[in-house]
Symmetry: C2
Subunit: 340 residues, 2 copies
Amino acid sequence: MSTAPSFESATYRPPNWDAICEAHARIAPRIHRTPILTSASLDSLAGARLFFKCENLQKTGSFKIRGASNAIFSLSNEQAARGIVTQSSGNHGAAVACAAAWRGVPAYIVMPKNAPKVKIQAIEAYGGKITFCEPKVSSRNKTCDRVQAETGAHLVHPYDDDCIIAGQATAAKELLEDMSDLDAVFAPVSGGGLLSGTCLGAKGIRAAIRIFGCEPSRADDAYRSLTTGTLQSLESSDTIADGLRASLAPRTFAILRKHVERILLVSEEEIISTARLVWERMKIIIEPSSAVALAPLLKHGVVQSLNLPPRSDGAAPKLGVIFSGGNVDLTSLPWPVRTT
Amino acid sequence: MSTAPSFESATYRPPNWDAICEAHARIAPRIHRTPILTSASLDSLAGARLFFKCENLQKTGSFKIRGASNAIFSLSNEQAARGIVTQSSGNHGAAVACAAAWRGVPAYIVMPKNAPKVKIQAIEAYGGKITFCEPKVSSRNKTCDRVQAETGAHLVHPYDDDCIIAGQATAAKELLEDMSDLDAVFAPVSGGGLLSGTCLGAKGIRAAIRIFGCEPSRADDAYRSLTTGTLQSLESSDTIADGLRASLAPRTFAILRKHVERILLVSEEEIISTARLVWERMKIIIEPSSAVALAPLLKHGVVQSLNLPPRSDGAAPKLGVIFSGGNVDLTSLPWPVRTT
């Protein structure tokens, strides 16, 4: 799967504030301004004041519609005419299918054959045409190249694309517009589109804010990439966080290296218990990938270990957490359920 | 379970607008201003524009904290000193336990022994002291009288109480403040506190608005009471909507007779399928009682049959729906679930 124009890491200039504001103006009439929710019981567990940006309540059930609609509505009629092609484990595919339908052009989605059924059905419901591939990055790229060659569709990469990054940045922009004195923001990281956008969107409003990425230990390429300073690959992954099975790309790696404080890792058990806790306490449905952004903060001593500067009000830190999506299969849950 | 002062239906004057505004000012600093969410796919199914007031995202997981905190913070120190007693199938009990804890006084909760475990645990988590009774209205009242006599606690009735009704009215007040041109509002009805408050809170802002109550066919006392013009009882009920197993009281019956257009009935199957649809499409957890308020609108032809006046903008009607709560046991769901 190739991207154009060709990428030069040394000279790469990420989307600037104007591009993010233009993206926001372009997509705001089409998407939800998602609520920011709070929970006294989760605050108490974390020892912090938490502000959850609920992109699980976004159209298509995830933040992905931000980038996808920005990318697709940035195209000329000629560029869009033969349709859109992309690869996705699910949420980006649904977002592309939805935004392409809004635009009135076909969407061709390449997805791994182990993607959750509910995400496959969502893409089909938006009219997307699916091609399945093996659940490996190499197979995804190859299949995507083939579909693109066959259809002549325009490629919208899930994250290694400035329009996508600028679109995803609007979630953190809204969060900081509504809660301007946050000390830090936490977002899950997979390909890095959301986390890159979170850096640009949050720091564009509050330059001193700290940004942390959160990642499953079983899919720790971002952690390894930032630790070693070299882009690391992740050929396959079996984490329950099915939205976090991709690896960083040159653009997102460049942005994260510059702006991200560090990457926090969480176990599968922590992901599951955090997701369940949020369902129970907040009464919202988050998918496991969303839980990854909160799970580190519920571990004893982690908030204190972040070395955030003390607040002038002397109170507990104010932390933003981006819940990335809420697409789960309600007939298949990671805890025992009996049927009444 | 007696209420004071003694009730005279003919001369009863419900809480006026000032009382509702005072209640709102009293409780607003303690509770969430819950979001109003929308869903394009549910709009399409209903043939209307739906605006969901999400009291499932309220503190304690239901609207009940509005009335309970208004009632408990309206008491003098002397009245509150020996604690609060009430009877509840769950949500009102949790709300009383929470508001009593905020006030620093004990809460004595009488609840039916078949109440959902998750609601029992919530009351215990807020420090409430539970006494179980048989799941019949007569047993509830008798047990409540006994606990009140033993403790000297102040009775806060779950709905036959003006402070409770004024508190519950603040949900519809907020809904209409945010969406002033709604054509109608739909709320579930059990004892009638929420529906009474919905009438007063909505009509206080928009006098011409139509109010509909929604009720399980298996607990249809409000339907029968409004149809016959005589307060009907409901000695027991086995609906899955565990928050809707109480029957109207003199105050709420008087308000509903005056203000409610009609009561819409739904089956158990409709309640379950609607709840699941909301979980899937909106990514929020609602309890079956909440689904009761939406279920009628998803039935073919029902919205058209409401005889709402045509809108000046010629578009589909704008309907408010109050999701009353989100307290469900996540290990016990009314559809088949396998564990991953």
